[in-house]
């Protein structure tokens, strides 16, 4: 299996080679990109296809709590929910992971002990990413030491927008190293990068730096995951695999609240990156309220009627 480092050694050799490479990527026509995302959004997913999509979506959730008010009790409740999303139906799949701040990793880990649900931790001075590299790396090591299986880092958007691509690249590679065996998700905060051309460049920058996942957003800004920015990132991982043989995951996060929305994203995955990505090893939803809507829709499919919010657990 080829490694990213040697395949692109010449690209990441200097700031100017990296800039030339990123600016040489094909441009993105925003109208066309959004039209394609909207057109895939009209796919009609019914009956057996819907049941498949709902279970798949549940299994892809990084069940998230990232609040200043997070307590051990809140995190334990979330972990219990991830392991057993619907107490009335034990056939419901578990979520992929629970996503918390580094100081809550140990609590989450304990709550998930003996299950295959992963613990993901945001790090690197999430969500702004405004701290010295040493501080960011200490944040990552702390999360990993506490048992995090996955690290969700934020890139330095200031450096990216200032054109200091090599700085962003070096930060990603340093975090990758500090993550050790933990899988690394690189968050671009697409809402701050603003243009689709920037999102494509950031995607390649993340993949070149050794990201295991590329992720849209922190969920903390006005514009988070959208069908268009996720479609664009799916094109990036598709093209990266075609070129290097290396498969990279995608995680849209923030703003995906309904089953209908989640299914639209799965259609994007299916018809852009392809069936190989229809697995929680390669695609995740960063979400919290989405899970309960999926559970209500799942109950509706099973029983033929809507149960309502009192029939799913609120944690």
């Amino acid at each position: 299996m080829p490694t990213t480092a040697n395949a692109f050694a010449d690209v990441t050799a200097s700031d100017s080679t990296l800039r030339r490479f990123l600016h040489g990527l094909p441009g993105v026509d925003p109208v066309g990109l959004e039209a394609r995302a909207a057109s895939l959004g009209t796919r009609s997913i019914k009956t057996t296809a819907k049941a498949y999509a709902i279970d798949l979506a549940i299994s892809m959730i990084d069940l998230t709590t990232l609040e200043g008010a997070d307590t051990p009790g809140k995190v334990r409740a979330l972990a219990a929910k991830a392991v057993n999303p619907d107490p009335t139906d034990r056939t419901t799949p578990r979520t992929a992971a629970v996503c918390v701040y580094p100081d809550m990793v140990a609590t989450a880990k304990a709550g998930l002990a003996g299950t295959d649900v992963k613990v993901a931790s945001v790090a690197t001075a999430f969500p702004a990413g405004r701290a010295a590299l040493d501080v960011k790396l200490a944040d990552v090591r702390d999360a990993v030491a506490a048992g995090a299986d996955e690290i969700d880092m934020v890139i330095d958007r200031g450096a990216f927008l200032a054109g200091h691509y090599l700085k962003v690249h070096e930060e990603i590679t340093a975090v990758k190293e500090a993550s050790g065996a933990a899988r690394l998700k690189v968050i671009f905060e697409t809402g701050e990068l603003s243009t689709y051309d920037n999102i494509r460049r950031a995607s390649w920058l993340g993949m070149l730096g050794g990201a295991d996942f590329i992720k849209t957003s922190t969920g903390k800004v006005a514009v988070n995951a959208t069908p268009a920015n996720t479609l664009l990132m799916l094109e990036a991982v598709r093209d990266f695999r075609a070129q290097t043989g290396i498969q990279i995951g995608v995680k849209p996060a923030g703003g995906i609240r309904s089953t209908k929305d989640a299914i639209k994203f799965l259609v994007l995955v299916n018809e852009t990156a392809g069936a190989d990505w229809l697995d929680n090893h390669w695609f995740r939803f960063g979400a919290s309220s989405l899970l309960n809507d999926l559970l209500m829709q799942r109950q509706k499919l099973a029983t033929g009627r809507y149960s309502g919010p009192d029939y799913v657990t609120v944690d």
Partner: protein, 478 residues
């Protein structure tokens, strides 16, 4: 390994449309049998099921329809524009209210996917009536002087590829300007025009303002040759267009023709590749390529040819061909056995002349008229598939080296209806657009329509413009 995400069938309900076993002609506000009692059957191209039996108009019926339109013209043209607008607005709203029914009907009679009739055809039909309704009381300000006069009775002959939309393109401007019409829909797709006749009745449109004569080429010829009409508007093949031009030559009749095309879709090396691939797909596979302005020639800069073709082929493997009523169908049926035979023959010619043929693996239904999406590579300007209009889901791929060569090859066609340019460089986009001899030039998009935009051809693609302010001129005595 993930299991595949198989989309379950998601058919639109047929129950929303009630197709009667038989239909008459629509003359002077009434449905009536043909004078000679002739009828013909219309079938669903995706299943070959007979949908209905329709009266077949003949020369005598043309006399009746033209007389009705002539009689109605006096009062209709004398109405204040604002009053005519009321009828057009009412028709537009009725089309919107009945759009689901009309979309299903059109999909059944034409074979195109419900996704297209629902999201493209019907919204555009309503938009056209709304747009020209807005002009009816503003003709003084259209740039043709004060109080421009209508021509009289318009004889209109429309094709089968966008049956209701082409009807809207013809009828909306004609009525807004104060003309009355006799319209002949294509013999393979008469139903939506007859449903439209019902909408005219629902809207309370005065009798005789709109007359519909379903039938074959003979009645079309009788209509355009009729002494009592003042204007001929035709959309269809270049061969028939030439015949009509000969018939009309030397008469008082004003003529607009919207004919064939062999649109060039030009992709430069700095194009937004993923969106260009989408544009190529919608350029040639929208409506199974049965579109006069289809981007049927792909001109790609040689330096990115392999990369683009790989991406295009990968994309074509995701197209879903099948039941046109399924909401997830991308590619529907070919409209008729005759058209299928024509596409098949031209594709065979392409192969015989040495072009390389490629189609994604796709299973064609056993009944109905179907043709797999097809690419031809290694095509040169000398190949038949690069010159002749195929009017089907067949794309010919040619390469170029420089912008000048791209323009020269794009213009090297007997046609000049549409073209597309794909580049992220604005200056190139504008420079190339100015040099292309095509009525419509799309930049970083393809097959986008809007009632405010004039549409029409250069060279053998016809003359006159439909849509926009320009579209009024064809129906005014100016």
């Amino acid at each position: 390994m993930a299991s595949a995400f198989e989309y379950a069938p998601a058919p639109e309900s047929r129950a929303v449309v009630d197709i009667k076993p038989s239909y008459g002609l629509f003359i002077d506000g009434e449905f009536t049998d043909a004078a000679d009692g002739q009828v013909f059957k219309t079938v669903s191209p995706s299943t070959e099921e007979v949908l209905s039996e329709v009266a077949r108009a003949g020369a005598e019926d043309v006399d009746r329809a033209v007389a009705a339109a002539r009689k109605a013209f006096e009062k209709w043209s004398a109405l204040p524009g604002a009053e005519r607008a009321k009828y057009l607005f009412r028709i537009a709203r009725l089309v919107q209210e009945r759009s689901r029914e009309l979309a299903v009907l059109e999909t059944l009679d034409n074979g195109k996917p419900i996704k297209e009739t629902r999201d493209v055809d019907l919204p555009l039909v309503a938009a056209h009536f709304f747009y020209y309704a807005g002009w009816a009381d503003k003709l003084d300000h259209a740039g043709y002087g004060a109080n421009p006069r209508p021509l009289g009775v318009a004889g209109q002959v429309i094709p089968w590829n966008f049956p209701l939309l082409m009807l809207a393109w013809k009828i909306a401007p004609a009525l807004a300007t104060g003309n009355t019409v006799v319209l002949k829909p294509a013999e393979t797709t008469p139903l939506s025009a007859l449903f439209f006749a019902d909408i005219c009745r629902q809207a309370g449109l005065p009798k005789g303002v709109v007359n519909i004569l379903p039938g074959y080429g003979d009645v079309g010829a009788a209509l355009v040759g009729h002494e009592g009409i003042d204007k001929v508007a035709f959309t269809g093949s270049t061969a028939v267009g030439k015949e009509i031009a000969r018939t009309v030559a030397g008469t008082r009749k004003k003529l607009t023709l919207e004919l064939g095309g062999k649109g060039a879709n030009i992709v430069f090396d700095d194009a937004p590749i993923d969106q260009a691939v989408e544009g190529i797909v919608s350029g040639i596979f929208f409506n199974q390529g049965q579109v006069c302005c289809a981007g049927s020639r792909l001109l790609v800069q040689e330096s990115i040819q392999d990369e683009l073709l790989d991406a295009l082929k990968r994309r074509l493997t995701t197209l879903r061909l099948g039941d046109p009523l399924d909401k997830n169908t991308d590619i529907g049926a070919i409209n008729s056995a005759e058209q299928l035979a024509r596409i098949t023959a031209l594709a065979d010619t392409g192969e015989a002349e040495g072009a390389e043929r490629w189609s994604p693996a796709c299973e064609l239904p056993s009944a109905g008229y179907w043709f797999a999406p097809t690419l031809f590579t290694n095509v040169t300007q000398a190949h038949t598939v690069a010159r002749d209009e195929i009017f089907g889901p067949v794309l010919s791929v040619l390469s170029f080296r420089t912008p000048d060569e791209a323009v020269a090859k794009a213009n090297n066609s007997q046609y000049g209806l549409s073209a597309g340019i794909w580049t992220e460089k604005g200056s190139r986009m504008l420079a190339v657009a100015n040099k292309l001899r095509a009525g419509v030039v799309w930049a970083n998009t393809f097959n986008k329509f809007d009632p405010t935009s004039p549409f029409g051809g250069y060279k053998e693609s016809g003359f006159g413009r439909e849509g926009g302010r320009h579209g009024l001129e064809a129906y005014l005595d100016v």
